[in-house]
């Protein structure tokens, strides 16, 4: 699900299942934050050319 699609889906659940809608939003935001967190934790900070072991 893309970002607007996910929010739209939660909006649609608002009336019939307000709790599910709320926790769905929470899960979505949490997922995005975790993706960002893992991206920074695992990112390669070096801008050096990829070192090829056998090159030398």
């Amino acid at each position: 699900l893309k970002w607007p699609g996910w929010l739209e889906m939660m909006k649609a659940l608002d009336e019939k299942h307000p709790k599910l809608s709320f926790w769905g939003r929470v899960a979505g935001f949490y997922f995005l934050m975790m993706v960002l967190f893992l991206y920074f934790m695992l990112a390669n900070l070096s801008s050096a050319p990829k070192f090829v072991y056998t090159q030398f």
């Binding site: 934050m33 801008s47 050096a48 030398f56």
Partner: protein, 392 residues
């Protein structure tokens, strides 16, 4: 409003997760497990806080390169040989870790060293005309170790300047890291107190967390968990038995002209026709290299930090080098140059240059194999015991 509320609840949960991760990682930083010392994952060699936390009163840093990642499952690798002893050699290095990066690491972790000894395994291939290759240096560069080196006040300005200048040269291929390095120098050496200093502190915390995050995942993967510290034992490896075992295993396995391990020979065999005599003109190889000055720098760091070094002079596989035509004279001159540098600094030497033609000394063209590891381990263990004897 609902979105905002949900966002803050998610933020709270996220905060709890990150805090939990942080606490878990922090608890695993000091594993207090001798297995960590001889664990040969490259990421360990770049992680200052983990190296410092896991150095104990029986640890000696042993600096080297790719040999640590070879033969890790064999009974001759330090991980096996020293597993039952109280000695914890802290293996630091991987392919293309050379004198300069080891000088930086030593200066950085020195405050945590109880034993004032260090071992450097020197490979002849380090002394090619270029010295350490810039891309290789950049790929192994650790910002946290570099920051630690800058913070070590025992280092003289001259030595620190040498390390900084060489680092600047080699990091030209990684301008982003070079920019950060220049900023660390400004903040640490020029006491630049500004917003940059604050951000540098935040950045440093992030780097430490990031390194520990990776290392934790790897220790879990490799089954290295919290231990009970130094093994209290009088057990000593039986070097003669190990050597005899290596010889016997070699006789059974290595039926090839270079006395390499059979699987390594099989990898090389298809290219042999191209290798024959290829280095016949290499009369000046290993003679002129910036690596000699980098080695001097490593020894100077030892002197300034009051650390007794032992240089382990590793040979080349004489059978193979003869096959490629690499002149014996060039090899001999190289060994002599390293010996004279060691003498210049009064460093102990474990000289294996006379083992070029020892069968089963090598696993392949250059890496230590069965007998090689036994003899090198014995020399390192002797150096460690010498230390404890002196203290007693």
């Amino acid at each position: 409003v609902k979105n905002i509320k949900a966002f803050f609840v998610a933020l709270l949960l996220f905060g709890v997760t990150v805090l939990g991760c942080h606490l878990f990682i922090s608890n695993r930083e000091d594993l207090n497990n001798p297995e960590f010392s001889t664990w040969s994952a490259e990421e360990k060699s770049q992680n200052r806080s983990a190296l410092m936390a896991n150095l104990n009163e029986e640890s000696i840093p042993v600096f080297g390169s790719s040999e640590f990642q070879h033969g890790t499952d064999s009974p001759y690798h330090p991980a096996s040989v020293f597993a039952e002893t109280s000695f914890n050699p802290m293996l630091i290095g991987a392919g293309y870790y050379q004198s300069l990066s080891h000088a930086i690491t030593l200066a950085s972790i020195e405050p945590a060293m109880t034993q004032r000894k260090a071992v450097l395994l020197i490979s002849p291939q380090w002394f090619r005309k270029t010295g350490v290759v810039d891309q290789a240096f950049a790929s192994r560069f650790s910002e946290t170790l570099y920051q630690g080196m800058l913070e070590n006040e025992k280092l003289s300005e001259e030595t620190r300047n040498y390390i900084c200048e060489r680092t600047h040269q080699l990091l030209q291929v990684d301008t982003k890291t070079l920019d950060r390095v220049l900023q660390y120098e400004n903040i640490t050496l020029n006491n630049e107190e500004s917003a940059a200093g604050f951000f540098d502190m935040i950045w440093s915390c992030f780097l430490v967390e990031k390194e520990n995050f990776t290392l934790t995942a790897l220790t879990i993967r490799d089954g290295i968990h919290a231990g009970e510290g130094v093994v209290q034992t009088d057990y000593e490896p039986d070097w003669e038995a190990l050597l005899a075992q290596a010889e016997e295993e070699g006789e059974q396995e290595n039926q090839n002209q270079f006395y390499m391990d059979p699987d390594q020979y099989a990898l090389l065999e298809p290219y042999l026709s191209k290798k024959e005599g290829i280095n016949a003109g290499a009369v000046n190889s290993y003679q002129k290299s910036p690596e000699y000055d980098d080695l001097r720098c490593f020894l100077t760091v030892c002197q300034e930090l009051d650390i007794e070094p032992m240089l382990v002079i590793l040979p080349v596989n004489g059978f193979y080098y003869d096959f490629t035509g690499f002149p014996q004279e060039a090899r001999d001159k190289y060994y002599e140059k390293v010996r004279s540098i060691a003498e210049e600094f009064g460093a102990q030497v474990a000289d294996f240059s006379d083992q070029e033609y020892t069968k089963y000394f090598f696993e392949d063209r250059v890496h230590l194999g069965k007998k090689g590891w036994v003899l090198v381990n014995e020399s390192i263990y002797g150096f460690y015991n010498q230390d404890t004897e002196d203290e007693a």
